[in-house]
Amino acid sequence: MSVVDRQEWDVVVVGAGGAGLRAAIEARERGARTAVICKSLFGKAHTVMAEGGIAAAMANANEHDSWQVHFRDTMRGGKFLNQWRMAELHAQEAPQRVWELETWGALFDRTKDGRISQRNFGGHEYPRLAHVGDRTGLELIRTLQQKIVSLQQQDHRETGDYESRLKVFQECTVTRVLKDGSRVSGVFAYERESGRFFVLEAPSVVIATGGIGKSFKVTSNSWEYTGDGHALALLAGAPLLNMEFVQFHPTGMVWPPSVKGILVTESVRGDGGVLRNSEGKRFMFDYIPDVFKEKYAESEEEGDRWYEDPDNNRRPPELLPRDEVARAINSEVKAGRGSPHGGVFLDVSTRMPADVIKRRLPSMYHQFKELADVDITAEAMEVGPTCHYVMGGIAVDSDTAAARGVPGLYAAGEVAGGMHGSNRLGGNSLSDLLVFGRRAGLHAAEHAASLAFERPAVDDDQVDSAAAEALRPFSAEGPAPGEEDGRPPENPYTLHQELQQAMNDLVGIIRREAEMAQALEKLAELRVRARRAGVEGHRQFNPGWHLALDLRNMLLVSECVARAALERTESRGGHTREDHPAMERKWRNINLLCRLTDPTGGLAATDPVRGQIALTRETTDPIRADLLALFDKEELVKYLAEEELYE
């Protein structure tokens, strides 16, 4: 097998979004030589698309806010399935992480007295989101990017080399985590530009690859979101947690078709935008679920007053958590009260003056004007649900972000599970990236330091088989089982489209048992065909080849979603079963774990019943008493089983 270039690092971070960059900064500042690998150019990661803000209880806009209130909101949003220790750490540490960004040069929008301004968002009791217009993610990624550059400048002054302690390998893809026994020993990757393979040897690997949205047809996610990190962890022997929970953001663009799914920020509603059906009715008032009845306005008048006087009025139901709003929109459209292009109307034009809209929502104004010929200061937008975020992910230890069962493997950000339970609140993602990105970097650096004199060895056989796996699309030919000779290779683009259609139709926002079973059959068929995905051309910047390799990951992750969704016979957060519409207290403390059926990481299984994924159930740790005490008993009985209440 070909000789593959190898380099030694202490910590390798896979992914250069908010979590990956924050992890890299921390690891480097703790003394670890740190490499970051990302599929795109440095600074283009999906985090740039985050619009609304970073949730942190700084209490700048409402003095009553505190980490306890933020914790409560997060648990309610996740319907109490959250890994509560993560929710606690997140709420406690988010303000520090935001303030720290200011010391690195970030410029948030300000309050009148010069502090960081905070805006309202769905599910948050107080205005809590630090923001920069509606481009907060860009500010976050640029600030972290510039912090990395400043560390490199420091290294350059000391060593004469910008990349001596912190290097970004941009436009490179990791296809395998390498192991020495049970421990991580490095990663196998290829350069997208040249197709060249390389190995980074490292005792610690932080996975921060984001989500899985590209397995669905209508999504707000970019091409990068192919579930790479989820698949890397599975293949390395780590379990995924609660993969059935996929967030469909209530407001994506629905027209024209080529932009279907592109996000319309929740800030539109946070700042006063309202949802109406084709009859002009603000329908969200009809969709307030019992668990939230006391917290939301009963009339339009009360909801409207809340923007000015939040202490004496309740918030409008447009600001319910995302899962509730997405289901409501879905129901309205289904009942024939949708907009011309199959969505509902989101209107700010009658709610605030044009200049205020342009100042507070500049990219939304721009986006609709440029892409849909709609002037949002004069008319309503048409919006509908779009696949946005996966709450499920790599099962991690709350404090250290260490993946279960694989020493040296860490995960942070969207790819990690647990933090958001069954549904994430808007604004809790950017803060999650910073809080757990830092923790992952910290513990990865410590782990690497502890192994400085006994670094895990990279096994040549693993490198060879990773290289063979990556090259297979170039020699994909020959017949499918039971077919005649000479059948041409499969087109990876076609396979991808079929996968997206299947997941969208069969494991989408509303789920039914028979459809999910059908999805598993379809996934099995695609799995067989994907083994024959072939590509033209050569290894230099070849998107067809890249997609053929990403398909492995999308198929694995899609199977996790479908299998877990079939298993959980209740509706909770980002998992809605038409055949089991109620939230069941007996499911409240059940986690579903996905593991590879073949623990060696082999991927031969084509049996649709058995598949590549095995599910196990586990009971979650009881919520700590002092955290439970933050809630009223009357509220807890809606979520928790009797015995949990009195433990």
Binding site: S40, L41, F42, G43, K44, H46, V48, M49, P95, Q96, W99, E100, E102, T103, W104, G105, L107, F108, D109, R110, D113, G114, R115, V132, R135, G137, L138, E139, R142, Q146, K147, V149, S150, Q152, Q153, H156, E193, S222, W223, P256, P257, S258, V259, I262, L263, S363, H366, Q367, E370, L371, A372, N491, Y493, V535, E536, Q540, F541, P543, G544, W545
Partner: protein
């Protein structure tokens, strides 16, 4: 809803050379140039190399030249062209081609490293920063930059003058200097770094003769020339020739 067949010419090749290739391809209502490039990949040219990410004008990855004009392909509606028009898509001209529509934009990352980072004020801890909105407005405009590098591509100082690249940071990174210079809390000056002087001496501000080409192609509508480069030039000039400013800077530095 109506669809039609459009004529496309797409540059294909690599560092060795290449040329325009003709394609006839379906176009549907509401589509953008990037949709068409994707359709070519899926149906006619699976190995056609192109960078893209968000497809929503937020990441600045899919920069190319469409009919000779630097643009984001995801924000270029097909409806701006007539149905008869042949649409020519070529890679950014100012940067070396890697393959097809993908260029080596490493120049920009090198220049980014040469701009000294934000210097936090020594006497303020996290959470203690106070800035007024009016004071952050100016730098916030520049921080809207999505680093699509269209301004770097179009700037005539480097577009056809490879030899100027070494001494010239380009509009994007001169704007970065301006952003930091106007940042209400940047303490570079207290640390002995004069951003105005370095803009002139190290980042090649003097090469810019304010033709505003950069502003014209900016997809974020940032007034790069008027709001960043001209004020920076004015400040740099003040710093260089105004004896009072010069004296003030000496006195301040000595006392710190």
């Amino acid at each position: 809803m109506s669809s039609y067949k459009a004529q496309f010419k797409v540059w294909r090749g690599d560092v060795q050379g290449g040329g325009l290739e003709d394609f006839t391809v379906e176009v549907n209502d509401g589509e953008v140039v990037l949709d068409i490039i994707h359709r070519l990949q899926a149906t006619q040219a699976p190995d056609l190399a192109v960078r893209w990410n968000c497809k929503a004008g937020k990441c600045g990855s899919c920069s190319a030249e469409v009919n000779g004009r630097p643009r984001l392909m995801c924000m270029t509606r097909m409806s701006v062209f007539t149905r008869e028009e042949t649409i020519t898509v070529t890679p950014l001209r100012a940067f070396p081609v890697v393959r097809d529509l993908v260029t080596d934009v490493g120049f920009n990352y090198e220049k980014a490293r040469e701009v000294p980072a934000f210097v936090p004020p020594a006497d303020l801890g996290p959470g203690e920063y106070r800035m007024m909105q009016e004071d952050v407005d100016r730098s916030q405009e520049f921080r809207k930059c999505i680093e699509c590098f269209l301004c770097q591509d179009t700037c005539h100082v480097v577009r056809d003058h490879e030899e100027n690249k070494r001494a010239f940071a380009g509009p994007r990174f001169l704007m970065r200097v301006a952003e930091l210079d106007m940042h209400p809390l940047d303490a570079a000056e207290e640390s002995g770094l004069d951003r105005k002087t370095t803009a002139q001496d190290e980042h090649g501000l003097g090469y810019c003769n304010i033709t505003k080409c950069c502003t014209e192609v900016c997809p974020e509508g940032i007034k790069i020339t008027d709001n960043a480069l001209i004020p920076l030039k004015e400040r740099a000039v003040d710093r260089k020739y105004d004896p009072l400013v010069w004296l003030g800077s000496k006195i301040r530095r000595r006392s710190s």
